[in-house]
C-alpha cells in the first residue's frame, strides 16, 4: 500500500494527476465508489489517471475489466442498481460506441423507466479530442451523441483545478455523468485546490477571461485555443467562457456575456454540422437576438471522419480559425 500526501491548497500538478487525486479522494470518502475499465488497475490507465489507485484501494475497487465497453458500462449499471457508485473509464473516445446502447437506451432511461426508483450514480470518463498525433479512432469528439440524450449529464474539464473538483462532483452526483477529459491537456500543469467548497457547481459555466467585444464559447481542449486567440488579438477585447457543463448548459452565464459583447463564436473539435455548437448557437440566438451584430459563428471539425494525424492540424480549430470567425462577428 502506498501512502500519498493529499495536495494542499494551490498545489501545482498536471490535469491527469488532478483527476487521479480527485478519484483517490472519492474512493477514500465513500466505500461504495469503485473505478473500473481496461488497464485502469495494474497499469494505472493508459494516461495514468488511475496510477497507484489499485495498489491503494485493492483490485476489487479499482478493477481491471475484460476488454468490452458494453460490458464495462452494462455491469456498472448493474452495480449501481445494487447501490455502488462505479466510475468507468472508456480508454479512448472512439471506443465508446460499443457501449452506446448501454449508455443511451439503458443508463439514460432507467430513472424515468422506474419512475425514480432506480438511481444511477455512474460516471463514464472519456478521454476525448485530437492533437496528439494518435492513430485512427483516438482523436474524436463524440459529445453531441450524449448531450442529445435526456437522462445524462455531460461535462468537460479543461484545467487541473476543474479536473480535480469536477470528477469529485461527478462521482457525488446522483445522476449518470459522461465526463470528457481533454487528451491534449492531460500533461498541462496548473494549481489545484482540494477544497470542494470553493469550487463552482458542476453545471456552471465560468468566464475564464473577461472581454467586451465578442464572446468565445469553448469546452475541453478548445478553451486553451480560445484563450490563446484572445491573447493574440491586440485590437479586440475577447471574453472567453469555459462552458464546462454541456448538459445542462448554463444559458444564463452565456447569455449575459453575449448580451454585453454582441458577438459570439462557439468552438469545438467535433464536426460543426449537427454538433453541440448548433444547440449553443440556437440558444444564444433565442436569448440575445437583439444584441447580436451577426449570426453566431461556429468553428469546429469538418464534415469528414477525423483525419490521419499528419492532417489533424488542418481539421482542428486553431487560433487563426478562431480569430477568422471573430472577424465575421462584425
Amino acid at each position: 500500500m502506498t501512502t500519498t500526501t493529499e495536495p494542499s491548497t494551490g498545489t501545482t500538478m498536471s490535469l491527469s494527476r488532478a483527476l487521479n487525486t480527485g478519484l483517490r479522494a472519492a474512493l477514500a470518502d465513500d466505500p461504495a465508489v469503485l473505478v473500473m475499465g481496461e488497464d485502469v488497475g495494474t497499469l494505472g490507465g493508459v494516461f495514468r489517471v488511475t496510477d497507484g489507485l489499485a495498489a491503494e484501494f485493492g483490485s476489487d475497487r479499482v478493477m481491471d475489466t475484460p476488454l468490452g465497453e458494453a460490458g464495462i458500462v452494462g455491469t456498472a449499471v448493474g452495480m449501481a442498481l445494487r447501490g455502488l457508485r462505479p466510475v468507468c473509464e472508456i480508454q479512448f473516445d472512439g471506443f465508446v460506441f460499443p457501449a452506446f446502447n448501454q449508455i443511451t437506451t439503458q443508463l439514460a432511461h432507467l430513472s424515468s423507466r422506474t419512475r425514480g426508483a432506480a438511481h444511477l450514480p455512474l460516471v463514464i470518463r472519456i478521454p476525448f479530442g485530437g492533437g496528439i498525433g494518435a492513430a485512427e479512432h483516438h482523436g474524436e469528439s463524440p459529445e453531441a451523441y450524449f448531450t442529445h440524450t435526456p437522462g445524462l449529464r455531460v461535462v468537460a474539464c479543461s484545467t487541473p483545478a476543474d479536473a480535480h473538483t469536477m470528477i469529485r462532483q461527478a462521482v457525488a452526483c446522483p445522476d449518470p455523468v459522461v465526463f470528457f477529459e481533454p487528451k491534449q491537456l492531460y500533461w498541462e500543469r496548473g494549481p489545484v485546490d482540494t477544497d470542494l467548497g470553493s469550487a463552482p457547481a458542476m453545471d456552471r459555466a465560468v468566464v475564464v477571461r473577461e472581454g467586451s467585444d465578442a464572446t468565445l464559447l469553448a469546452y475541453g481542449p478548445t478553451v486553451r485555443t480560445c484563450l490563446d486567440a484572445a491573447e493574440a488579438d491586440e485590437e479586440r477585447s475577447l471574453e472567453v467562457i469555459d462552458l464546462r457543463s454541456l448538459n445542462p448548459l448554463d444559458t444564463a452565464t452565456v447569455a449575459a456575456s453575449v448580451a454585453r459583447t454582441g458577438g459570439c463564436v462557439v468552438v469545438h473539435e467535433a464536426p460543426v454540422f449537427g454538433g453541440y455548437g448548433a444547440e449553443v448557437a440556437a440558444r444564444v440566438t433565442e436569448h440575445c437576438f437583439d444584441a447580436l451584430r451577426t449570426p453566431v459563428r461556429r468553428v469546429g471539425g469538418f464534415c469528414a471522419p477525423y483525419p490521419p494525424s499528419r492532417l489533424e492540424h488542418h481539421y482542428l480549430p486553431d487560433l487563426d480559425r478562431v480569430l477568422d470567425a471573430v472577424d465575421r462577428t462584425w
Binding site: A70, V77, G78, L81, L84, T105, Q106, R115
Partner: protein, 358 residues
C-alpha cells in the same frame, strides 16, 4: 450436472408420469406441486385475458407467454427473497412469482408507464425491451451483491434470440471472469419472431456456456419440476461462489410474438399441434390428477381463482389512471435540471392557455 447437449433433463414425461433422474434432486411435496400448478394456471389465465384486452384495444400490445409457464414459474419459484430478477418483456410468469400486482403489470402494455412497479420492492427489474441489454445488469448486480458480502444472487432471463446479441455474450465473459453469482435462464421458445433457432445457432444453446467457462444445462422447459430443480441447484451453486450457469429451457411460444404478430406467416399448424401436445400446464395437470390427494377439489379451487384474477385484470386495466403530462419530465434526472424545469413549466403554461375563459 450433465446435459448441455442431447435430450433435455426431465422429471415429468410427456404423459405427466414422474420419473426419477440421477442428476436431479426432486423432493417436492404436494403443497409445492400444487403451488406450481396454481401459479402456472394463473399466469396462463392472465395471458389469455391480456391478449384479449389487447385485441379489444385496451392494451397497446401484449407479449404472450403461453407455453412458457413451466420455464418461468419453475425458475422464478427457485429465487430467494433477496435475489434480483432481470426479466424480458415476455416474463409475466416471473413477475407473477415476484408478487407484482396485475395492475402494475399492465401499466407498460397500456402505455401509462414504462414500468409499473418499484424494482426494489419486488426485486424485479423493469422488462427489458432492447433485447439482451439487461444481461450485463444482472452480472453487475451479482458482482455488487458479492462485493457487499451477501449471498444474494441475480437471474437474467433471455430468449433464444438474445443469445445472438453481443451484450449477452459479454455478460457471459464477465460473469465467468468474475465468478459472479448469476444464473442465465434462456427460454428457447424456438422462434425469435419469425427466425427459427436453427437459423441462429450452429450448436444447442446450452453448449455455448462451455466455451465461456461455466456449465450449460438443457432442461425440458415444459416440465416445471425439472425447471424448478435445475434452477434451484444453479442458484445454490452461484451463491456458494462457484459462478454462473446457463440454463437452456427448451420450450415453445404457443402464441404469437406479440398481439400484432401473425405466426401463420412463418410456421406450420402441424408444428403448433406437436407442441400443443407438450403443453406444460396440461402435463402437470395430468400428473396432479393421478397423484394428488383430492385433485378435483384442488383444480376447482384453482379455476375459481383464475376467474377472480380475470375479473380483477379487466377491472384493473380499465381503471388504470392516465398519467399527467408533467410526468414526462418527472424522473429524467434525480437532481434538478434547468432545461427539464424550463420545458415542464412552459408546457404547463401552454396547456393552460387553451382553457376557455368564461
Amino acid at each position: 450436472m450433465s446435459g448441455a447437449e442431447g435430450q433435455p433433463l426431465r422429471l415429468l414425461d410427456a404423459e405427466g408420469v414422474y420419473r426419477d433422474h440421477p442428476d436431479l434432486r426432486a423432493d417436492f411435496d404436494e403443497a409445492q406441486i400444487r403451488g406450481l400448478y396454481r401459479d402456472m394456471a394463473m399466469v396462463r389465465r392472465l395471458d389469455t385475458e391480456c391478449l384479449a384486452l389487447a385485441r379489444q384495444g385496451e392494451l397497446a400490445v401484449w407479449t404472450p407467454l403461453s407455453g412458457q409457464e413451466a420455464a418461468q414459474v419453475g425458475s422464478a419459484r427457485s429465487l430467494l427473497p433477496g435475489d434480483m430478477a432481470f426479466p424480458t418483456y415476455r416474463d409475466h410468469g416471473v413477475a407473477w412469482c415476484r408478487g407484482v400486482p396485475p395492475a402494475a403489470l399492465l401499466a407498460h402494455f397500456r402505455g401509462v408507464a414504462h414500468s409499473g412497479w418499484d424494482p426494489r420492492e419486488y426485486r424485479l427489474h423493469p422488462y427489458s425491451v432492447v433485447v439482451g441489454g439487461h444481461a450485463l445488469h444482472a452480472v453487475g448486480y451479482a458482482m455488487g451483491a458479492a462485493a457487499q458480502g451477501t449471498a444474494d444472487a441475480a437471474i437474467a432471463y433471455l430468449g433464444d434470440g438474445a443469445m445472438s446479441q453481443g451484450e449477452v455474450n459479454e455478460a457471459f465473459v464477465w460473469a465467468a471472469a468474475r465468478r459472479a453469482p448469476v444464473v442465465f435462464v434462456c427460454q428457447n421458445n424456438q422462434w425469435a419472431i419469425s427466425e427459427p433457432v436453427e437459423r441462429q445457432s450452429a450448436v444447442p444453446l446450452a453448449e455455448r456456456a462451455r466455451g465461456f467457462g461455466f456449465p450449460g444445462v438443457r432442461v425440458d422447459g415444459n416440465d416445471v419440476l425439472a425447471c424448478r430443480a435445475v434452477v434451484r441447484d444453479a442458484l445454490a451453486r452461484a451463491r456458494s461462489g462457484h459462478g454462473p450457469t446457463l440454463v437452456e429451457a427448451v420450450t415453445y411460444r404457443m402464441g404469437p410474438h406479440t398481439s400484432s404478430d401473425d405466426p401463420r406467416r412463418y410456421r406450420t399448424a402441424e408444428e403448433e399441434r406437436v407442441w400443443l401436445r407438450r403443453d406444460p400446464l396440461a402435463r402437470l395437470r395430468t400428473h396432479l390428477s393421478r397423484t394428488d390427494t383430492d385433485p378435483e377439489k384442488f383444480l376447482a379451487s384453482v379455476d375459481e381463482d383464475c376467474d377472480a384474477l380475470a375479473r380483477e385484470l379487466r377491472h384493473a386495466c380499465r381503471t388504470l389512471p392516465d398519467p399527467r403530462p408533467g410526468e414526462i419530465w418527472e424522473h429524467v434526472y434525480a437532481q434538478t435540471h434547468p432545461l427539464v424545469a424550463e420545458e415542464r413549466g412552459w408546457y404547463a403554461d401552454y396547456l393552460d392557455s387553451f382553457e376557455e375563459t368564461p
